[in-house]
Assembly symmetry: C2
Homo-oligomer: 584 residues x 2
Amino acid sequence: MYRSHTCGELRASHANKEVTLSGWVQGVRDKGFMVYIDVRDRYGITQLYFDEEQTEASILKNAQKLGREFVIQVSGKVQERASKNPNISTGDIEVLVSKLTILNEAKLPPFTIEDDTDGGEDLRMKYRYLDIRRNPVKDSLIFRHKVTQEVRNYLSKEGFIEVETPYLIKSTPEGARDFVVPSRMNEGQFYALPQSPQTFKQLLMVGGMDKYFQIVKCFRDEDLRADRQPEFTQIDCEMAFIEQEDILNAFEGLTRHLLKEIKGVDIEKFPRMQYDDAMRLYGNDKPDIRFGMEFGELNEVTQHKEFNVFNKAELVVGIAVPGGNSYTRKEIDKLIDWVKRPQVGALGMVYCRCNDDGSFKSSVDKFYDQEDLAKWAKITRAKAGDLICVLSGGTNKVRAQLSALRMELAERLGLRNPDEFAPLWVMDFPLLEWDEETERFHAMHHPFTSPKPGQLELLKTDPGAVKANAYDLVLNGNEIGGGSIRIHDKATQSLMFDYLGFTPEEAKAQFGFLMDAFQYGAPPHGGLAFGLDRLVAILGGQETIRDFIAFPKNNSGRDVMIDAPAPIDDEQLEELSLKLNLKS
Amino acid sequence: MYRSHTCGELRASHANKEVTLSGWVQGVRDKGFMVYIDVRDRYGITQLYFDEEQTEASILKNAQKLGREFVIQVSGKVQERASKNPNISTGDIEVLVSKLTILNEAKLPPFTIEDDTDGGEDLRMKYRYLDIRRNPVKDSLIFRHKVTQEVRNYLSKEGFIEVETPYLIKSTPEGARDFVVPSRMNEGQFYALPQSPQTFKQLLMVGGMDKYFQIVKCFRDEDLRADRQPEFTQIDCEMAFIEQEDILNAFEGLTRHLLKEIKGVDIEKFPRMQYDDAMRLYGNDKPDIRFGMEFGELNEVTQHKEFNVFNKAELVVGIAVPGGNSYTRKEIDKLIDWVKRPQVGALGMVYCRCNDDGSFKSSVDKFYDQEDLAKWAKITRAKAGDLICVLSGGTNKVRAQLSALRMELAERLGLRNPDEFAPLWVMDFPLLEWDEETERFHAMHHPFTSPKPGQLELLKTDPGAVKANAYDLVLNGNEIGGGSIRIHDKATQSLMFDYLGFTPEEAKAQFGFLMDAFQYGAPPHGGLAFGLDRLVAILGGQETIRDFIAFPKNNSGRDVMIDAPAPIDDEQLEELSLKLNLKS
């Protein structure tokens, strides 16, 4: 038996009890005649006490030689401390050690195992097993476990069945790039790792498993942006014999349950917003509605004067920054620089101060009089003391730019309170989106999403205007889930593949099994998938997912701890009927 | 709203209620003036009733045209049946239909959706989504969900944390063959899919996460035997600051909980058996102890006569077949043919009838007298009426042969009762096993398993005799779990790699991260992994795993439903810096 108690367990009520603890040496305070050692495990820290009078000399000597992160086992008697430490749960007691065993020695760790470590990101990733000893990472992983348990128990109670779908599936060129897995037993052929279990969960619906979920790893071989991982986890869900309203209710229920159980937050009913309104009011399909700063479209009140920048713009749009009139000229110039950074890409910014006396002072006073500016203020809901920021240009671009500015300002103004939770359904996404690069329409969600009733015909005349039975669940400005009602008949699915540029042969080769399945009695169905990594991070009050993943990869898709990926043996390649074809 | 109730829900108490059901047409009985339709969903079957007098003509006509597996929605009034069906839960009622909607038509399915289907294995796999509609498959998947929920809730309650480990890891030549995943972003390099999260769970122990579990997919690119899958699921567990006894207790607790909760079976304490005894008494490291038929070693009582077959054999060993004296000569000859099949590989079989009068009659009476045969009976515990079957040859081979015979006979004798559960710990496995092919020792479990205390030295002189802190959990003759206490110091781990034939460079390249980790304060640790597919199958009273997996692969590793693996585009290969190197 290595321990009778954990290092987070002992209280004053244990005084005089003989106990055995095991753990890591957090620190040694050696006063010569007495030694204090903090021993740490997953559950907490306990103070160990040794002194000349009460401790055997050899034990005291060994204690003095212990280094940080040594693994030790100690036995001794619990005693109340003279000076208690109210900051830790075991702060009332210490253990007077009568036996000390070194279970394993430790080299000096490359960074301190403290909440605020001196280790940089790279070092922490290389020694992730040490990083996990730190409370912020350890607690995040335990928090993740707690969330997934709640999800599973809630969905199970609601009659959902977790079904494991395969990881070795088939590559499809639609969507993001697949990771592929060469098959040794089927020469020249490859499996693909799933980007999601989409087609399998639909087949489960055809199979009658009418409430499915799975917490499952998914894979995308994308050029990694910050905070993206090549492997990520989804809470994947699907239901049959449902309408959109049933899906929204089911997963609003799950999210409400999590907010309540995990965060103690009660939210009655999640608001809903049309995709078009989200874009118009926030320039963004995942608006953070914890604060206002809604967009005001200013074309009508700006395009009647001689200011050509606005006159030739597709959209002129502004937001009111609360209290922004207090910004100095220099601060505003910095803000203008900020929107002109390549990451945002605006060409400039017009602003208008709303003075306390009700007058306005804009950077374009040459063109606009007080009456004009009053209209700007009215439309952007600016009050005295605010600053109106106005951008102009092509609609999509300028919306994205102003959205970035809105989020940045909200961050600076402390309006993005991590303890506040503002969920939002964004509804009726477009079915298709135009891809500038390939100059054709792509499925915005995926090719299995059904168009709104009666809109299928629009595909021919105005494909960009077709709305889908598709919805996203947004939490605090992050998309935490998305889904749709699916197509469930072969004819519509074929038509969709056709519009997406599949030849009938391609459609059959890649998705023939699904269209076949639709012929054997497919029920109406739909679903939703949550991004677990992000959901957990946001519930944990953070926006970066990395500390909620035990062993994340870096931005080049590398695991720097195990040093993967790595070259493989020639025999392995030979067995797989492959040869390297290096460009460099 | 597609339904007010499921098809398994309505009872006599619902009589006169207006309900809406959705589901699949199981069958139509058309009597002309009245029509009965069974509608089926995941929850059951409900009888629908239409007749000339009460049903609108157009509806009756539509009902008559419905085909099997059409997806329909009906509304109507619940009424008590005249003739009740006690075999189904809804057998007291039927629904008098007033509205019928065809939600989707269905082609005639290629096999019947019945418990006893007319579909063969291949057809069922190709149309797995139809197969899943059948109760035996559907119920197995739901059963699997129930088992995994119990596992997760039990382990969570015991303080275990489920941590997701990565799927894109590094290939190691030790053990079975890896599936590899070419990395596009790291040219010429490959990830591997994990055969198990072994090293990661050990790193979690180094990281202080002292009770870990994960239900996780694992991958092995092996030539598939029947009932093996290239991807399979483990309940992977690890604990730190534990001794072997702690592990055995923890997972005996889990297994006992499952037997109790899932099967209603109470088992107080699991028996334990030494590996050496299991081999001696059952010829097998996973003995089925639901029945006796233990081996009797007969060298001493057979090698004193002129029978050379026995005299030159390393081992002469027999079992008593209960009641086997009733076998005719023909039946015994068939048994001899059975053991001579190449799958078993015995050269022959000696037998001895135990007559009711206490006399014996053997196939080798020329050599052995009644006194000799009485000794055989004593050693094999044969009683009057039994048949003693004796095999001889090299110890390992003959044990495997007799074990196969023992299992076959037990099956024929109905001694393998699926409702009886006989768990067993098999303890103290050898550390190494000799590989005939490569003519060297391999790690029997894996290279991270620790030898028994004080046996490390034996590695030099008698490596095959070294026992490990390794244990298997056996249930009804199947290994359902296995594990070990791990090495947790760099020196021993290096030594082990050395004995296994790794150069220091190879050891460092492949497992350097683990040995590094051991230098930063690794706690004593160990664990166990259950094979979930098999565990679920056995708890479900079956020995084949395929129906407990939603979308299994066939023996060539193919998914015949989606037709994977498949060729990929040349551009994909090009992007991955690969070329095909086909042999054929």
